[in-house]
Each structure stands twice: as C-alpha cells, then as structure tokens.
C-alpha cells in the first residue's frame, strides 16, 4: 500500500484541501481520532475493570520478586553505616555499625517490625528468625544500663512530662496540655535549638513521638519515652556542652551532664554479642549487607537454584536444587499431556463432526458432561480408579491379569498426573478441533478419493492439513492450562508428578515467601510467553482457529 501511494504524494505540488480549507490529511486524522476516542470510551469500562482487577494485582504481585525495602526500612541507620564495611577485611563490623544497629533494632522492636525482618532474612540464612526474635527480647539489656543510671540520678528521667517539656516546642506542649481524649493529637514539634544541642536524643525522641502520636494515639505527656532515649542522651551529653542551655528542665539536664562522666558504660558491639554471639558472625553481617538495597535479584537467583554470595551468584548445593527440575518436569509433562489430548481427542472430534447429528449430539453431551463436573470430583474419582486397591487394579486382579501382590502403581506418580490431567483437559482439545472439523466440507474427501487417493492419502493429504488450525488452538489451550495446574498434581502426583505451580502455591500459602513465589511465577510467565512466540513463528498464530 505505502509503496504505491508514496510516489503520488511526492508528485503532488501542494497538500490536498478539504471543503473547509484545512488540509485533507489533517481533517481526516481529526475525524479518525474522534472515532477512535468514541470506541475507546465504549470499551473504557471493560478496560478499566481489566486493568484494576486483573493487570494491576498481577503486576503488583510480580513486582514483589525484586522488592526488598524491608531491610533498609527496618534498619535504615545500620544499612547506611554498613555500606562501607568490607567483609574480607574483618569478621564483623565495628562499633559505629553496632551503635546504628542498636538504635534501629530498638525502634524496630518497639514497632514490632524486627520479627518481620527476621522472617524475611531467614529465607536467605537459617537462624535469622530466632536471632531477631531473641535479640528483640533482650535488646533492652543494653539500654537499661543507661536508663537505670539516669533513673537513679533523678526519677524525673522516667517520667513522660519532663521529657516532653525538654524535647517539645513550648507551643506544642501547650497544645498537648489542652488536648482531650477523642481530639486529634497535635503533630510533634521539636523545641528550637534542641536538635543542635542533643542531636541523637532529638532524633530518637522524634521517632518515639511520631510512633506514639500516629500509631498508638496516646498523649506524650502520659507516655514515658522508650528506654533507648536515655542511651542517646548519654551519648549526647558526653559529646556536648549544655552549660548555656536555659530552656525547660535545664536544671535536670545540667545535673545529668555533670554526672554522666562517671556513668558505667557498655559497648554496643559487646552488648549485642552478649545477647547472641551470632551478631559477631561474618555470615549474619554479609547477609544483611547483601540484602540492604531496596531491590534485589536474590529471589530470582533462588528461583533458578542459585544463591547470592559475597563472591557473586553461585549454584546451590546439589541437595538443595529443586526448581530447575520442577520447571523441566512441568514443561515435559505439559507436552505429554498435550500430545495425549491430541491423540485421544482427534478421533472423538472427527466422530463428532462426521456422525449424523442425533448421534453426534449424544456424543457431545458425553464430552461436555465431565467438562461441567467439578475438577475436584473428577480428580478424586481418578484416585478411586487408579489406586492399588482401586477399581482398575481390582478388575485386573479379578481377571487374573495381575497378581494380587504385584498390583500396578498408577497413582501418586507421573502416570497418575498424566492420566488425570489428560482426562480433565480433553474437552479443551475436542471442542476447538470439532468446530474446525465441522467447517471442512466432506466433498473434499470425496473428491480426493474419486481422483484415486487411498483412504489414508485422502485423510493425510486433504483432511488433516485442514484440521491443523484446530490442533493448534487445542494445543495452546491445553498446554497453557496444564502448565499452571496445581490441584490435580497435588492430589494424584505424589512426589514425581508435581508441578512448579505446587511450589508456587506452597510459597504463597505456607512459607509466605511471596518474593520467591513471584519470581517463580514471573519465570513461568516468561517461559509461556516465549513458547507462545516460538509457536507463532513456527505455526503462525493466524493459523489457530477456535471456530
């Protein structure tokens, strides 16, 4: 088309004009655009529905395969401080990292986020779950050292109000005092200058204030601050000079400033190793460092039997490799099922298309009846049929074909999955085949035969090629459905007949490793799309007919 129109266009001296004087091209485009817009508006409800309820959830789920913000969100200071740590140079990081860990961890356990992080990291390293849980219980061993000393010095250090007056801006404190239960809590505001004087304390108290106001919805004048602020205050007082401070609670602060020099101290690193010696282990820290970034390829590596290590991705130990086997098996069995469906479905579809309509209708009902029966019922029925004490074995033994001691094993293995799934998916092969075969005029076969073809040649050279689009459509349907099956393989597949989807289901509902499930799902989706592309190249998707 474009080849023929191009020369005429260049031959024209000026643009062709429409009746109203605008160039014809432009006015045509406008008219078309309006039409397209109208068409789009017509399908808009469906489009929006599909986007919101289908595409968006899937995209959201698949996105989890790379998402990894949990580590840097739960331990923001630690991951920052850990960025420069060189795992080859030392077994465990130095004091500043542990100091960051202490603040992060204390805040996380107050917000009950540390166990969530433990679950996440436990997917990568065994033992992280209990390390986090136990450390959460004991992290105040460290903070209590300072808390107790401040408390001994002045009981007011364990009171809510003096702290609020010291840290909060006067106008905020005034608002707070006027606050009554049921009202909205005023947002916390730091006292002017306090952030310069006591930077760490201001930061930590700010976190506490934010959490208490937003999550707990309690008054800061009633809630004593978390024990961690005392540690921050100790560090600030050791570093700062507060003699010029004249704000609220100046007296209390100055007394403390004079006393802290004599305080008993505890090292953060020693403290954590005391809580659990695993904190001194190189493996724990490399795991945290490796999973610090907000996005990770770790899930995808896991999904192909690899793992992240300090020296880059490596294959897992042989006794932990499973996913590659499962992918291979899923592909192989889906292909076998597809071929079995073609073999069994083709003659049935041929009969359906060629019998007189009365008989064909009866046969059609026989095809559709199982199609309408619940999947679980059909699968369970196969269980009854195939098991060792089942119907088929009983009949074989009764007929004397099989000895009672050596009954056939037909279920809880690949064979069981193939038989049950072939039966379940058979209608998806028969129906497209049937509708294609119906359109093949019987006169072609007769013509072939009258020209001297044998039955076989007439079928193979004339009839079969015309039914290929039906085989194509049926195969795509069956194959893609088979690849995602998991209920039937779960029930009749035993150990050798399960699919990758069974593992995906396991990670979604049992291990809760949604990231890995998403990575496996993404790979599966990718493989299906790839196969579809190859299929299109070889068979051509235009050759597929559903009717």
């Amino acid at each position: 088309m474009s080849d023929t129109s191009a020369p005429t266009e260049t031959a024209q001296s000026g643009p062709m004009l429409a009746a109203d004087g605008t160039p014809l091209k432009k006015s045509l485009a406008r008219a078309l655009r309006r039409q397209k817009l109208r068409a789009l508006l017509l399908i808009a409800p469906l489009l929006i529905f599909v986007l919101v309820s289908f595409v968006a959830p899937i995209a959201d789920m698949l996105f989890r395969s790379v998402e990894n913000q949990i580590v840097s969100e739960t331990l923001p200071r630690t991951t920052n401080a850990l960025a420069d740590w060189d795992a080859d140079a030392s077994d465990s990081p130095d004091e500043p990292v542990f100091e960051a860990l202490f603040y992060d961890f204390f805040l996380a356990q107050e917000r009950k986020l540390h166990t969530r992080l433990g679950t996440r990291l436990n997917y990568e390293m065994t033992g992280m779950s209990s390390l986090m849980r136990q450390s959460g219980r004991k992290v105040d061993d460290i903070s209590d050292v300072y808390f107790d000393q401040f408390d001994d010095l002045d009981k007011n250090w364990d009171e809510a109000e003096p702290w609020a007056q010291l840290m909060g801006a006067p106008d905020w404190v005034a608002k707070m005092e006027g606050w009554e239960k049921g009202d909205r809590l005023p947002a916390f505001k730091l006292a002017p200058g306090i952030a310069d004087l006591l930077p760490k304390t201001a930061e930590i108290y700010g976190e506490f204030a934010k959490f208490t106001i937003n999550e707990d919805e309690k008054s800061l004048l009633k809630e004593e601050p978390w024990g961690v602020v005392h540690t921050a205050l100790y560090q600030d007082l050791m570093a700062a000079d507060v003699s010029s401070y004249t704000g609220p609670q100046a007296e209390m602060l100055k007394t403390a400033d004079a006393a802290v020099v004599g305080f008993e101290t505890v090292g953060f690193k020693d403290g954590f190793i005391e809580i659990d010696e695993d904190w001194g282990s190189r493996e724990v820290w490399t795991t945290i460092q490796m999973y610090s970034p907000a996005y990770t390829n770790g899930y995808f590596l896991n999904a192909v039997d690899m793992q992240k290590t300090v020296d880059g991705p490596q294959m897992r130990d042989e006794d932990e490799q499973i996913y590659f086997t499962l992918f291979k098996r899923t592909m192989f069995m889906s292909l076998v099922i597809t071929f079995s469906c073609i073999l069994l479905g083709y003659p049935v579809a041929w009969l359906l298309a060629n019998l007189p309509s009365r008989t064909a209708n009866l046969l059609m009902i026989l095809v559709l009846l199982p199609f309408w029966t619940s999947l679980l019922v059909r699968t369970s029925a196969w269980k009854v049929m195939l098991q060792q004490q089942g119907v088929i074995n009983d009949v074989l033994v009764w007929m004397g074909l099989v000895a009672d001691e050596s009954r056939l094993v037909m279920i809880n293995n690949q064979l069981g999955t193939i038989i049950a799934m072939t039966h379940i998916l058979l209608p998806f092969m028969i129906l497209p085949l049937y509708s294609v075969m119906q359109t093949i005029p019987p006169s072609y076969l007769r013509a072939a035969k009258s020209l001297g073809a044998t039955n076989w040649t007439a079928f193979w050279r004339v009839y079969f090629p015309q039914s290929v689009p039906g085989i194509g459509a049926g195969s795509i349907l069956v194959f893609i459905l088979a690849i995602g099956y998991y209920i039937t393989p779960e029930i009749v597949g035993g150990t050798t007949g399960t699919f990758i989807s069974n593992r995906i289901a396991y990670h979604i509902s049992s291990s809760l490793n949604w990231g890995l499930a998403a990575a496996l799902g993404t790979i599966l989706l990718g493989v299906v799309l790839l196969l579809y592309y190859v299929y299109d190249k070889i068979v051509g998707i235009d050759n597929v007919k559903l009717g």
Binding site: T119, N122, T495, L512, N513
Partner: protein, 372 residues
C-alpha cells in the same frame, strides 16, 4: 490470580460488613470465625459458639473454613487494609508466624482470658502452652500413627513403637507420611540411633539432615505422602497403606465412629497446639466482641466440653478433670486423649523455635530429596 481474587473478595466482604457493623454499640453484633471445617469445627460450634450465642441474644456468627490458608489470607487482608475475620483458629506454629509478622494481636492472658474456677490465673492455668504472645491455646492434639489391624503380618506383634514404621521386613506395605519435613525428620533420627534429647542438635547440622533423609530413603519407595489430615484415614480405610501418620482425632473418628479396623500407635507422638488468635487492626467494636467471645470460649468448662465431641486434650490444666464421655457414643474420652498417661509414655513437643528457623532450609532439602 488467587491473590487478586482474595483481595477483591475481601473488599466486597468489607463493604457489605461495614454497614452491618455500623449498627453496633460497643460490641459488634456479628462475628466471623475461622476454623478447619469438619468434625473439629462442629466440636467448636457445639462447645463454644452455641452456648455463647444463647447467652448473647442478637449476636450472629459465621464460619469461614480457611484455617489452612489463614496466614496467607490474613497477610493479604492486612495489606489490603480490610480484615474481615474476627477470631481465627490456627496451629501454634502459624500463630507464632502471624505474631512475628504483626498480623495477630498480642494478648495479655490475665486480663483477656478467664481465670480457672479455683482462682488460678489464666497464665498459670495454660502454663507452658502459651507459646506466643498472640496465641490462646484451645487443644493439645498429636500427630501419631494408625495401622490396619487386619494387615499385621501373621506371627508379628502389632506395631507398638515408632521404629516399626521404618521396619519394612517385619511390616511390609505402604506407609503414609506427611509431605513435609516436620515430624518425619525427628522420627527418622530417633530410629537411626539418635537419643531423643539430641534430636534437634543433630537436625541443626547438615550431616544430621542428611542422616535423617538417608533413613527416610530406606522407606521412600513405600511411602505415600499426604497433604491433608483426611488423607491417611482414607488411605487406611481403603487398605492402600498399612500404617500412616495423621492427627489423633482423625484416627479416633475412623476407629470409634466409623468402626474401621484401625489401631492406634501412640509411640513418639508429636504434641502440637491449636488455638485462637485475634487479627491485628480490628475496629474497636469488633475487637470488643472478639475478645468477649474468646474469653468465654477458652474458659475451663468450655474447653472441657469440647472434649465431648472430639478426642483432643483441653489446653487448660484445670479442664482435664472435667473431661467426660463422648456426646453421642457415650464412651469415656480420657483414654483416647493424647495426653492420657497410658498414651503419652514417649512423646515429643513440636519444637516451634527450631522449626521457625530451620523450616525454609530443611524444607528446601526435603523437597529436593522428594523430587529425586
């Protein structure tokens, strides 16, 4: 796909639920309870829910049989910001995970739970069974073995100890084991000469895990792996397997209610707990109702009543003496309890801490081993 459906369904449910709850004053007048279905759920209906509804007129309850997927569904609901469940029945390991994930509410036993009739505080009455801050135990159940009495080989005694499961010579035939490492690994080590006290120390090492899998390898070809608790009783009833592990209550039902030729083998049974959790983030009125219900449903008498319907041991020490006879069969329930002294000569307690850590790792190995 599954998730998006869950999300959609929960959104729709909440939209419908919100109007219903709006009418509540202080306490919501309907609640959604989540349980396992089957005989277990009906025992809860009979022992807890019906008396509770009789006491509180105008309150209605709905069951959702989703406990098997409770953790995943609660997480999805929580992410969508629409928790539609009020009280959820889960096994202790799931309760610990829900608590870790911040999806379950922390409970103060002495405030939220009823004291025993003699005044013992709830905390002492439940004792060690309070394995998580969020978990309110109901029953002690066990995973143990049942065998076909008519398939015991001639001349051999009925299987009476755990290692008989691994003894293919004396007891040929198929075995049913759960398709997960938990329990199977412990049993394998126990029968491979590891002392009971050392089982978890050994299992924590790579060599120990290999040792357990090697022992399981000796019977691998004779094992049918089950996923649902109902599988083993069915396999036993069909004569598909000679011996198989499952929950003791399922075996009780098969033996006493369905009169199947099945015998119990209690040796090395693994105790586990089942109980309630309240999802985190409930609105105040629903939370008040959920707490009120749970307090009632876990008091001494109610827990003892449940044992009339199912052979699981009540989680309160004070309930044990009140356990009586089966509501329909009229048989004495105490000898069918996993906690009965006659049955609990050699027992394990599910090691929650260990499996929380090692579950992912050992499961990967176990599944790879299965797939070989």
């Amino acid at each position: 796909m599954k998730l998006s459906k869950t999300l959609l369904a929960s959104t729709a449910l909440v939209a419908a639920g919100a109007t219903a709850y709006a009418a509540g004053h202080g306490m919501a007048d309907s609640m959604t309870l989540v349980s396992w279905g089957g005989a277990y759920q009906s025992s809860q209906q009979n022992a807890y829910v019906e008396p509770y509804l009789a006491m509180n007129e105008g309150v209605t309850s709905t069951w959702d049989e989703s406990s098997a997927e409770a953790v995943a569904k609660l997480r999805a609901m929580n992410e969508a910001g629409n928790v539609t469940w009020d009280v959820v029945d889960v096994v202790a390991a799931d309760a610990i995970r829900l608590c870790d994930e911040g999806l379950a509410l922390e409970i103060d036993p002495d405030e939220d739970l009823a004291a025993a009739p003699d005044g013992t505080s709830a905390e002492d009455d439940f004792g060690d069974l309070l394995v998580s801050d969020c978990f309110i135990p109901q029953i002690v159940y066990s995973t143990t073995f049942g065998y076909r009495t008519d398939m015991v080989p001639e001349g051999a005694a009925a299987p009476s100890q755990i290692c008989d499961v691994f003894d293919l010579e004396t007891y040929p035939g198929k075995r049913a084991l759960e398709k997960r490492p938990i329990n199977n690994m412990e049993w394998a080590l126990l029968c491979d000469g590891v002392a009971k006290a050392d089982v978890y120390d050994v299992l924590a090492t790579d060599e120990g895990q290999d040792q357990a899998l090697a022992k399981l390898d000796t019977i691998k070809d004779s094992v049918i792996w089950w996923n649902a608790g109902a599988d083993t009783p069915q396999l036993l009833a069909d004569g598909e397997v000679f011996i198989g592990s499952t929950y003791n209550g399922r075996l009780f039902a098969a033996i006493e209610e369905q009169k199947q030729p099945i015998g119990m083998m209690w040796d090395a049974q693994v105790f586990d707990l089942d109980g309630w959790i309240i999802p985190a983030g409930l609105p105040e009125d629903r939370l008040a109702r959920a707490k009120d219900f749970v307090k009632f449903a876990t008091d001494t008498q109610r827990l003892a009543d449940q044992a009339k319907y199912i052979s699981y041991g009540p989680a309160r020490a004070s309930s044990a003496p009140l356990v009586s006879t089966h509501a329909e069969l009229g048989i004495e329930m105490a000898p069918h309890m996993p906690t009965d002294p006659e049955n609990s000569k050699n027992t394990f307690l599910y090691n929650y801490e260990f499996w929380a850590d090692y579950r992912d790792d050992i499961d990967a190995k176990f599944q790879a081993w299965l797939a070989q």
